[in-house]
Symmetry: C2
Subunit: 669 residues, 2 copies
Amino acid sequence: MAKKWTQLWLQYKPRKDCGNKGYFENVWICGFSAEHKIVVNLLKEVEKAAAGMLDVHPDFKEWSADETAHTGMLLCKSEVSHIGAEGYEISEKAGLLTVSAREEKGLLYGVFHVLRQVALEQSVSDCYLCINPDNPLRMYNHWDNMDGSIERGYSGESFFFANNEVIVDERIEDYARLVASVGINAVVINNVNVKDNATWLITDRYFKDVAKMAEIFEGYGIKMFLCLNFAAPMELGGPDSADPLDPEVRRWWEKKMEEVFEAIPNLGGFLVKADSEGRPGPFSYGRTQADGANMLADIIKDYGGIIIWRCFVYNCTQDWRDYKTDRARAGYDNFIQMDGDYHDNVILQIKNGPMDFQIREPISPLLGGLVKTNQMLEVQIAQEYTGHQIDVCYLIPMFKEILDFRTYCAKEDDTVADIISGRTFGNKNCGVAAVCNTGNDVNWTGNDLAAANFYGFARLAFQTSLTAEEIAEEWIRMTISCEQEVIDTLMGILLPSREIYENYTSPLGIGWMVVPHEHYGCSVDGYEYSRWGTYHRADHLGLGVDRTYNGTGFVGQYHEPNVSMYNAIGTCPEELLLFFHHVPYTYQLKSGKSLIQHIYDSHFEGVEQVEEMILAWESLDGKIDADVHRTVSERFQRQLLNAKEWRDQVNSYFYRKSGIPDEKGRKIY
Amino acid sequence: MAKKWTQLWLQYKPRKDCGNKGYFENVWICGFSAEHKIVVNLLKEVEKAAAGMLDVHPDFKEWSADETAHTGMLLCKSEVSHIGAEGYEISEKAGLLTVSAREEKGLLYGVFHVLRQVALEQSVSDCYLCINPDNPLRMYNHWDNMDGSIERGYSGESFFFANNEVIVDERIEDYARLVASVGINAVVINNVNVKDNATWLITDRYFKDVAKMAEIFEGYGIKMFLCLNFAAPMELGGPDSADPLDPEVRRWWEKKMEEVFEAIPNLGGFLVKADSEGRPGPFSYGRTQADGANMLADIIKDYGGIIIWRCFVYNCTQDWRDYKTDRARAGYDNFIQMDGDYHDNVILQIKNGPMDFQIREPISPLLGGLVKTNQMLEVQIAQEYTGHQIDVCYLIPMFKEILDFRTYCAKEDDTVADIISGRTFGNKNCGVAAVCNTGNDVNWTGNDLAAANFYGFARLAFQTSLTAEEIAEEWIRMTISCEQEVIDTLMGILLPSREIYENYTSPLGIGWMVVPHEHYGCSVDGYEYSRWGTYHRADHLGLGVDRTYNGTGFVGQYHEPNVSMYNAIGTCPEELLLFFHHVPYTYQLKSGKSLIQHIYDSHFEGVEQVEEMILAWESLDGKIDADVHRTVSERFQRQLLNAKEWRDQVNSYFYRKSGIPDEKGRKIY
């Protein structure tokens, strides 16, 4: 029988014991009700995992304190202060492994931690730790449409929606298990571009099914969020306005939210894309973004709801002739003045960079630019600009760079990780979201290797101190193989893959150069004369966008010393050189190479690196699952074609424009 | 009440009499049956036209030779040899205007000629002429799909099809009247890309409605043709092959054609796009294009059917790195060897240029290259690459150039007009087709001024000696106004409009530089690194495609002296310079300007010319129909935006690439 879908890192294949088996013979519960939905689910999970990995069938029992010499695993409620609401502690003593938590959700994470150790073939008797998640909100944003399509989806159709209906089936449960096992606690199920039927998700047309799905999620500690259409009052037969300060509009929303939270009481709240790329919003009524967000937030506050408001607001009808307007400035310019005006249950969700999920961008200056506003980081594991899950691009190293970036917004705790976790400003409504890369493909993510991002983002969101290497190795062991040779080979593929992708695509932070709309494949001038604000400004002498004080002044949006660092060509990190400066082709880089020679060299190198990755992958034939090997091999061939096309187009474009030949005399067209 | 659609040049508005009224009081019929469908229709037309234009209601009577002193109009059958099958003669004597013809169809054209004179406010008593149409087939090709969409349609949806059904309504009759009035005698109703339901047009699923439409057409002397899916046997449940030499496939087609011609006995035949842009064809089976065409032609010969076979066969997955393969060569290379192999009821339909309906191309070397094959010229009035019926582009001057081009395939009668009319080789199955620009918009053609092409192509097809000026003036008088000021102003807009479009778009025959797929708007590099074989090869020193003997050798496909003319940069017509040569920016043109300065100047000039056109058009406000004036004004504003965008993108692109400034110091970005 054909598999309907894989179980990814929850395969529970037989594992070497490593002394873990004993802990699964008796499982004691203390202080938690075995009837609680989350506990029921986690016990099922333990049973399944123990049977699959260690061939043992646990006995579940209530703990009674008078018994002595217990061995096995104890799942124990604990009120000790170092365990946070979603945290857990694991300790071992005399054959008894104790997983302590304050709440069921923490217990769930603790249990999954134990199961992960087993899957990794590591002894849990070594475990002695207390882990509290770093980020309050750890969220997946799905851009799924109700017709079943997925905006920027590269893994088949939606498993949340089909034919304008909500799907509630076994896969939803598996999805919840998968993401909960790595600590995700919030999920947005529909596309931020809310249109057509999706506007009706907040009506009784869909309440029943949405509530069912939310209940499944709740059983795994996951809050469901929905995306809202800001113009919903007008489209759902309410007042003929969406003005957030219009009392009639407000009354309409009050009534609507009453209905919504009555039908879906465990709903987490809403994600809103307003005044962006054609979506309606408060600007249409001369109101501020804060007016819009606060109006909604106030209404849902009593239901415990929060409003997550996206900051992706920019002029998408720019004139390419205009060298002064800079899309990179837009997020900051549109949101900074209202800093402090947003109510406490509003979070601004900020894309990692000021443009749009390019392979290399500086950090958005809003992150840490805002100092009195709840902030959430948005990254994208859907590989919109990073290879469409055809090309391998392990993104965790990029996310680490983002999290580690020092914004200098505070004396201490000034990194992006500090800000979004709440450490910097002491706030609770904050965290990190990723635009997700899943769909109804058998393997969830199209390219099997793209699941490393699906896994890795969540792990990093939970524990930002994990390294990209640790996460990659965990994922490989759990999903592909625990054989050292396989692990080494795959680490060698995953870890440099982002830089390889960067090598054969757009150089030194300039970004774009992609086929318009589709965003896969090269088109150097594809966006150069367009309205999207995404230019490289190449001429016969050089390229790059001058964003210094001499140019668009974007650099001024950062705190010092970042301003000075970016503003001077000599101190600007070279990987971002063309993002901040217009640079002559003959400019000498730190490597001693000219800019143009660097472009040629990195593009030839990128293709060679892909060829090496393919050789490495081919060496795994017979050592890993045959289906996975074949599927990924096919995608690698497409990646190679893509890389060659980028190499030749970029090199030819700049050779034709500059007239400067490659020093090494390689073939340029 | 809102008009459902306009009547274009058959409005029959009140006209100045000019002494014409008397001819419409009595209309005599001699030798033709008043019951014949065409005669019935033409009498209805006379009645309507006479009432509308001259407020007279004709008395229709059988002619009796013994009566004397008849006045009025006599519609008379004649067997004199100088009147051809579709020709007519008009003469006046003593108050009797005689329209003579051999057949009803000729009579229809003669009557429409008379009605046209009335509409033009010219006395028909001056008429003394005999006109035989120049081209045997005068055809419109509609690219209408059965879902109602139109490929490259810029005038709304189809009026032939909607929701996968054939529409037979009053508009079909009006369409037939309109095109018959200007001499069209053949119409293909469905898209050459035959897919989905259109494959089923030759099944009893659609026979009834198709036959009804064909009957309406027949009443106006129009043969209906259909486009065929060469893979129909496989898709309609026949043999699992479409190999033209497979006896089973042949038998399937025999049976199919028997059904088709039984159901639609007056069908003219089929137009086939095979082995082109993904369409199936004989090449898939290692057969020649002649094998495919002849097989079908033989089968339908006994039904009087003909096969029109398109020559638009080229490699649409070319590698842009390949400078030797030349799409311009493909038509000739694919078809020349089989010259003489095509059976007599096969016609090869050849696009005017070797590429694809660009604003400026040389003539396809197949025209006159083939000397033993029926040839038909294909032009496009759907403004795919010439402004989408947003921009005004009167195409008749271009068609005149095409028809007048000397191919040197024969000592005399060597022009394209000679070849396709049958004068050169004495053949009958030949003529001219245009991809049509109509849709179900109220005004038929989106832009009211685009109807000048709809009218003009047909008039030119009938009578190739007409000048572009004559046709424009006729159309203006019949459709817009007979006021001299309006005529002068509109002539001033229409006649230079093709050169104006050329000025602000791609220079000197290079073509393309359009937004891929859409083909409206500028994208200089849009196709430069693509698989479509459409390149400009610009670098920092120059641009153009070397198609001389030093380059792709395309020039060798012409007859001398054309070969030598195109091969040498000094004798190559400058408007085609970049089509045939790769030229340095500093090359001096005959005007004394450098190539780069010509590019700058023509692009600035093009925009100024559009501004002048708009001023001219605005001066007509109040002097012509207000709806027409407003609709066209709106389009002119879009044309101006388009022209400015082209100007700035092309100039900026070449300035950035060449580094050579505009001598006049104008703004380039």
